[in-house]
């Protein structure tokens, strides 16, 4: 954490006491580095930011209210639009919650497919971060590399689900049977497209390559390090107080990963490491995400090896009525803990659906972490938190 009395190089030349009037600097809502429509009202004193007031809500779509008039199946189509960079990962905790309420369990093959697609969504989300973050710091090359590789992931997701960003692939009791399949008989075609595992495996090799390339391009880069090391340090206790989860929390030295902690999807069968860093600065938040790309590729490879055969869908009544009950269902989204508190009163629609979106909680720390930072660091710190405004505003 940079304290006000530490003098930065840009200020060192001014040795006499100069009074600068406090100014208000407005950033956004349309600003390239705000990942959508976030507005910041900053009070600046020279090069220092004295206080920041984020203004959100430009994209508030009222999903919690709409969900009260939609059936559970219709809500699946809504929730993957919350964080559109990793649409599939948002569906999973919702559908797991509804399954828990209804007492239905998806067959093992469907669980594995969910796990594979969640990890693909994680890689794709982290590739967006890896491409956009160096861009915000002034490096344009990684953008081209990472976004090119993301296309391979999006193509795989599209091949299975039919949608690049909004899969809407989960069903209560399993996943949507795929009728395309590249096969002619209907019985065979109710599964993943033929050759999918082969192509996924090849794509995972590409992901290892791009992670190494990005390592060469960005990780050791002096300029990137000057902009990120020891900048925007978030200590673990502050991260917990503000409800940070995911890579932002793990960069502060807390090895909290719901894939290890919570009992959902067959992550127990898979051998992988939780990426943790101790520093809590922008550089560590970047490094955690880079490490997670490699770990996700590892998970997908093992899942392809271990995936059992069997049906994709459990027996579910055609008209799904969820019994009365309340459940909190959460999962590790690429950005952190994503949860749904579902209150069912026994109808076809939930009585109340609370969406615990990750970026909203991750963004609450912004006024604290930006206080007394330099203006050029403002964008560096904001970008390192990796938020999506759709996920903030819901």
């Amino acid at each position: 954490m940079t304290t006000p009395d530490m003098i930065h190089r840009s200020e060192a030349a001014v040795s006499v006491e100069l009074q600068t009037p406090e100014m208000t600097l407005n950033l956004g809502p349309q600003h390239p580095s705000t990942h959508g429509v976030l507005r910041l009202i900053a009070k600046v004193d020279g090069e220092r930011v004295r206080s920041v007031e984020p203004v959100i809500g430009y994209m508030h779509r009222g999903y919690e209210k709409i969900s009260e008039v939609r059936t559970y199946l219709q809500i699946t189509a809504l929730v993957n639009r919350i964080d559109w960079v990793s649409g599939f990962a948002n569906e999973v905790p919702f559908i797991l919650g509804v399954e828990r309420l209804a007492g239905i369990e998806a067959p093992p093959r469907a669980q594995y497919i969910r796990m594979i697609l969640t990890e693909l969504a994680r890689i794709s989300s982290h590739l967006v971060f890896i491409s956009s973050y160096p861009l915000e710091l002034g490096a344009t090359t990684p953008l081209m590399h990472a976004l090119r590789e993301r296309e391979y992931i999006l193509e795989l997701i599209e091949e299975v689900t039919g949608g690049r960003f909004h899969p809407n692939f989960n069903r209560v009791g399993g996943v949507k049977p795929n009728y395309g399949g590249g096969s002619t008989t209907k019985k065979q075609s109710m599964d993943l497209p033929s050759g999918f595992f082969q192509r996924t495996s090849e794509a995972m090799d590409r992901m290892d390559t791009i992670a190494n390339d990005i390592d060469q391009l960005v990780t050791g880069n002096e300029l990137i390090k000057m902009r990120t090391v020891d900048v925007g340090v978030i200590p673990a206790d502050k991260a917990l107080e503000y409800g940070l989860t995911g890579p932002n929390l793990r960069a502060s030295g807390v090895a909290y990963d719901l894939r290890k902690v919570e009992n959902y999807l067959p992550y127990d069968d898979i051998d992988f490491d939780v990426a943790v860093r101790e520093g809590g600065d922008c550089y560590d938040r970047y490094m955690v995400r880079l490490d997670e790309i490699r770990q996700s590729a590892r998970i997908v490879r093992q899942a392809i090896e271990k995936i059992p055969t069997g049906p994709l869908q459990a027996k579910v009544p055609r008209v799904l009525k969820v019994p009365r009950g309340q459940v909190y269902s959460r999962a590790e989204n690429p950005k952190g803990e994503f949860g749904y508190y579902i209150v069912s009163e026994g109808g076809k629609m939930p009585y109340r659906l609370k969406i615990r979106s990750t970026s909203f909680s991750n963004l609450t720390i912004l006024p604290w972490v930006l206080k007394d930072q330099l203006i050029p660091d403002l964008v560096a710190i904001m970008g390192s938190l990796d938020f999506v405004l759709g996920d903030v505003d819901r």
Binding site: E64, R100, G243, K321, Y341, K354, T364
Partner: protein, 199 residues
């Protein structure tokens, strides 16, 4: 669910590990009671001890996850009403979820507020991250958080009138134009398992 006999589903099986955890936590915190339903632990807290209980609980459940509210209302403009409307005790429930970062432990702390006096002490003096969550609950439900100095609208425009997540608040778009899903989609067949279903 507190307007129902306490956790009937879980009583069928033997007291689970989770229930032992919930009862132990309730006792240590001096809370009023607990329910365990579908792996979700809910601990009832009285309004006077809200801040104190949350602060004590955070010594072991370090992560402040979220805070929100539920409007239990007889007058329902949108969606399905509650199952037993006549027995319903109209109230707000404010929920706060805390999680451990070492294991899967976690609990949702619930405080019940009467509709005519929806005021609760704010958590912001010790949990700064609660500010936005409280602002959201304030604008969406009209709940006042005593001690939160910045209860300005978070999502809604400054001149917005009403609390949209109240059950009595209509969905204006739906009033003007009915949801086409109701008419376009052919009615779902009633499966054998769902005998007695009214749709």
């Amino acid at each position: 669910m507190s307007d129902q006999p306490e956790s009937t589903e879980t009583e069928a099986s033997e007291p689970s590990e989770l229930e032992a955890y919930a009862s132990d936590l309730t006792e240590r915190l001096g809370a009023e009671g607990y329910t365990v339903e579908l792996d979700t632990v809910r601990i009832d807290v009285s309004r006077d001890k809200w801040v104190e209980t949350i602060n004590t609980a955070r010594e072991e459940l370090e992560l402040f996850s979220w805070l929100s509210a539920i409007d239990w209302s007889k007058e329902v403009e949108v969606g399905d009403p509650v199952a037993d409307v006549d027995d319903l005790d109209e109230r707000f429930e404010v929920l706060c979820r805390l999680s451990s970062v070492k294991n899967a432990d976690g609990a949702i702390f619930v405080v019940t507020l009467p509709k005519d006096d929806a005021t609760i002490p704010s958590l912001t003096s010790t949990i700064a991250g609660a500010e936005w969550h409280e602002r959201e609950a304030h604008e969406m439900f009209g709940i006042d958080f005593d001690g939160n100095m910045n209860l300005t609208p978070l999502y809604l425009p400054d001149d917005f009138i009403g609390n949209p997540l109240l059950k009595s608040y209509p969905l204006i778009a739906r009033e003007v134009k009915p949801w086409p899903g109701d008419v376009d989609v052919e009615p779902m067949p009633v499966a054998e398992e769902e005998a007695g279903s009214d749709s």
